[in-house]
């Protein structure tokens, strides 16, 4: 890369880092679902953009647009150097409450199925507390350790939504009693290969340091694959942005993870100026959507390959990422489950003797009769672009083959999400944020046939199905209080929950309290 370009690129990267330093506070997980999107979001984005540009002319410099945290406080007082850290410690707390209105549903859990979103009004919540420890062992060698506690109550026992679960924090194994667990413990080694110096700001899972723009980064241990792949400077951390899981990553990326969203394995990243490439192999769950892990990485695995290009367009930073995945796991093909049922109706959902999702529908096929080593593949693209200093837009789309059941993330087989997010500097509240976005997800034809016959997967299955895309539109506003605290209000409308045109739409109102330190 040429020097001037590099300088521009680094300026842009620094701007992203400033914009998102605290936007990225952890991440991980979880499971989920889908419906139809009917809004003119591009129009809304354009309106937001024009407002932003007009406002940017008059907005005076903000007195303080950096969030509070202990490490920077120590550094400001000369007790720590965030630019050259031997350790750091960050933390966060997030409480999210969701209230779902009652919605239209001509049938629910039909014929003994168990996975419908319940049509009555419901309340859901999550509370999470996380500590992020980082320690430098030697030059380029770092270890990270992240304990986390979560308490939760999902809507309808986390059933009935396919690609747009309303709260990204929800886990498959959660309970109202707080559970403490180790979210991450991994080692990372950065090997410099020359090029220009690049400053890496201190933040969770990143010690403040300077690295080469040409470098190889190796990580091994326990983490979420989302720590490395499909990152976004705009919407990577839903704790500060969108509530819905559809915006956390590709809804149809069945990334290898346990029931909490974490896994074990290794990742190698090669950075070469504005290009980067990463590859990783991670452990899948022993059974689909379980907490237990299968460590036989030579036999069962999730492989990822991603190519990223960072660019500057009209002076504003952006990035394009192409991601491919291949999972080889013990899972069932929908067509195999249907064929087994048709060949022998005794092989129905109510008669399962092996791992299954509890359906009592004796007239439906079930995945339990067809599990064997299978491969799932998919490819996706992730685009982000800043349109102004404090306004960014993003879009993600992924196509997975959809032949096999959900193993680790959610039930979607194809997905699309897009939106815009703006910081509040334009209206003199630099740490506030507002966002609007839309997401759609689909299931494959074999997946739809299986559900229409009354089958269930890990999350959905109403007993009947009139297939359609599950879609969500979401808008939120986060107001910052005293620097370390954000309070957010959120609205979501979800069409075709569980990919079923017969049910919905669903209105969900949300509130979030989030603190960082």
């Amino acid at each position: 890369m040429r020097g001037s370009d590099l300088s521009s690129q680094q300026t842009a990267q620094r701007r992203i880092a400033t914009f998102t330093r605290a936007l990225y506070r952890g991440v991980a997980k979880r499971a989920a679902q889908a419906k139809v999107w009917r809004f003119g979001l591009l129009g809304a984005s354009a309106l937001l953009l024009s407002t932003a540009r007009a406002g940017a002319q008059a907005a005076p410099p903000a007195p303080d647009d950096e969030p509070f945290d202990v490490m920077h406080l120590l550094s400001d007082r000369g007790l720590h150097d965030v630019r050259d850290e031997s350790f750091n410690l960050y933390g966060q707390f997030t409480y999210i409450s969701s209230w779902k209105r009652g919605f239209h549903a001509p049938y629910t859990n039909a014929n003994g199925s168990t996975n419908s979103l319940l049509p009555g009004a419901e309340r859901s919540f999550t509370g999470s507390f996380t500590l992020f420890f980082g320690l430098r062992l030697w030059h380029g060698g770092e270890v990270y350790f992240v304990p986390e506690a979560i308490s939760e109550r999902p809507l309808s026992a986390l059933h009935g939504l396919g690609g747009s679960i309303q709260n990204f924090e929800l886990q498959k194994t959660g309970a109202t009693t707080p559970q403490l667990y180790r979210a991450r413990s991994y080692f990372r080694q950065t090997i410099g290969l020359g090029g220009e110096p690049v400053e890496k700001g201190s933040q969770p899972l990143q010690l403040g340091t300077v690295v080469d723009s040409h470098r190889l980064v190796l990580a091994v241990g326990n983490f979420t694959i989302l720590d490395f792949f499909d990152k976004s400077s705009i919407v990577s951390d839903p704790r500060r942005t969108f509530f819905n899981m559809a915006f956390m990553t590709h809804a149809s990326w069945d990334f290898p993870a346990d029931a909490r969203g974490y896994s074990w394995g290794g990742v190698a990243e090669l950075y070469w100026d504005d290009w980067s490439m990463r590859v990783g192999r991670m452990t899948p769950p022993r059974n689909p959507n379980e907490l237990q892990i299968d460590f036989r990485l030579w036999k069962f695995y999730g492989d990822q390959l991603e190519l990223e290009h960072d660019h500057v367009l009209f002076g504003e930073p952006g990035a394009i990422r192409i991601l491919g995945f291949q999972n080889r796991v013990d899972s069932a093909r929908f067509d195999d489950a249907i064929a087994a049922f048709r060949a022998d109706p005794g092989k129905n959902a109510a008669a399962c003797t092996s791992y299954n999702y509890g359906s009592t529908n004796a007239n439906a096929p079930d995945l339990c009769w067809a599990r064997k080593p299978n491969v799932k593949r998919g490819v996706g693209v992730n685009v982000e672009q800043y349109l102004a200093d404090d306004l960014g837009v993003f879009a993600r789309g992924m196509y997975a083959d959809g032949n096999t059941e959900v193993d680790a993330f959610n039930s979607a087989d194809r997905s699309l999400s897009f939106g815009a997010l703006a910081k509040g500097r334009l209206w003199r509240r630099p740490l506030d944020a507002v966002g609007v976005g839309g997401g759609m997800s689909w299931i494959s034809s074999s997946h739809a046939r299986y559900l229409a016959l009354g089958g269930v997967d890990g999350f959905i299955g109403d007993g009947r199905l009139r297939a359609g895309p599950e879609s969500v539109v979401e808008a939120f506003y986060s107001v910052n209080l005293l620097q370390p605290i954000w309070l957010s209000a959120d609205y979501q409308r979800i069409w075709n929950p569980g990919f079923n045109r017969d049910r919905g739409p669903v209105d969900i109102f949300g509130a979030r309290a989030h603190a960082e330190f």
Binding site: H80, S86, F87, R182, A183, S185, Q292
Partner: protein, 321 residues
């Protein structure tokens, strides 16, 4: 008369059922681990060197250990290893200021395995924890504080107090938790005289779990005691690298049968640690220890091995005293 006979029959039947139930009672697990690690940056594995000093500082430690047969019941040919092995990785974090220390330990169980069996009418179910089935669990988390009351960081005699609170984040079935909160209060002492270094403790383990009816199971509150001594061997002329080697002895005894043979555990650990002051004035310690139970009750294992690496850093200069 017939009514009396019927009543007597019912009473006898109920009594029999009660005895059968008692004969088939199931012993539940508890926190077997007795290696109560010292604070990150405290030098020894169990004892505390009370060397807090300076302004704001901190330490992190990663400790991993393996214990063989830490819980056995019965004797002779009837001996049953309820817990045949346990291993852990403990992550410790400490903040220090002047003579005070606050620290947190989170230990992840790596394995906890054992055997099932019945002894004296009590059924024991050993743990079967592996990373595969419990990939992200924790044993009981510990939040603690120490303060040095007498002496300076390098005095010949230092005296301090420590308090620890254990949160029941582990599981009884994994034998890494009592399922209740626990606490410790300890008097600590330590000192350095030329090349000789020592440390010790005397304290109380406030333990609500009392299942004295089951041999080798917790019997409520316990006395804690320990002593460590070692010699320092400078490995370079500037003393930036020092080897410290010596034994640590530690144990516990239930107050309800203080120092009774089946209510007391005693363990010895031979330890060696390499202390290196880095170019950034950080103190890095690499620690190794091996030993076993001298009185194999209450969780003292047949043998154990433990290793640790810890880093202590001082953010500000010491205050003048």
């Amino acid at each position: 008369m017939r009514s009396f006979s019927l009543l007597a029959g019912v009473v006898v039947a109920l009594g029999s059922l009660t005895r059968v139930a008692a004969a088939q009672s199931e012993a539940r697990g508890f926190a077997v681990e007795r290696l109560y690690l010292s604070a990150p940056g405290a030098g020894w594995f169990v004892m505390d060197d009370l060397s807090m000093h300076g302004g704001l500082g901190g330490a992190v430690a990663l400790t991993s250990g393996y214990a063989r047969k830490p819980l056995q019941v019965g004797s002779g040919a009837q001996r049953l290893s309820v817990v045949t092995e346990q291993s852990f990785a403990d992550f410790g974090f400490a903040a220090t200021f002047d003579r005070f220390r606050l620290y947190l330990n989170l230990a992840a169980p790596l394995s906890s395995k054992g055997r099932n069996g019945t002894r004296n009418g009590e059924h024991f179910t050993g743990p079967s924890l592996t990373l595969k089935n419990t990939p992200d669990g924790f044993e009981d988390a510990r939040l603690a504080t120490d303060v040095r009351l007498l002496g300076q960081a390098d005095s010949a005699f230092r005296l301090g107090l420590g308090a620890q609170l254990f949160f029941p984040t582990g599981k009884r079935s994994d034998y890494d938790s009592d399922g209740t909160y626990r606490a410790m209060a300890r008097a600590l002492f330590a000192g350095d005289i030329a090349r000789f270094s020592y440390a010790g403790e005397l304290g109380v383990h406030i333990r609500p779990l009392n299942e004295a009816a089951t041999p080798d199971w917790p019997r409520g509150n316990e006395l804690l005691f320990g002593l460590a001594a070692g010699l320092k061997f400078p490995l370079d002329t500037s003393a930036a690298t020092v080897l410290v080697a010596g034994p640590e002895l530690f144990g516990e005894s239930a107050f309800d049968s203080l120092l009774g043979s089946r209510a007391t555990g005693l363990e010895g650990l031979f330890t060696a640690r390499l202390e290196v002051v880095s170019s950034r004035a950080e103190l890095v310690r690499f620690k190794l220890g091996a030993g076993g139970g001298l009185e194999s009750h209450l969780g003292a294992p047949e043998w154990r091995a433990v290793a640790a690496v810890e880093l202590s850093d001082q953010f500000t200069e010491p205050r003048e005293h």
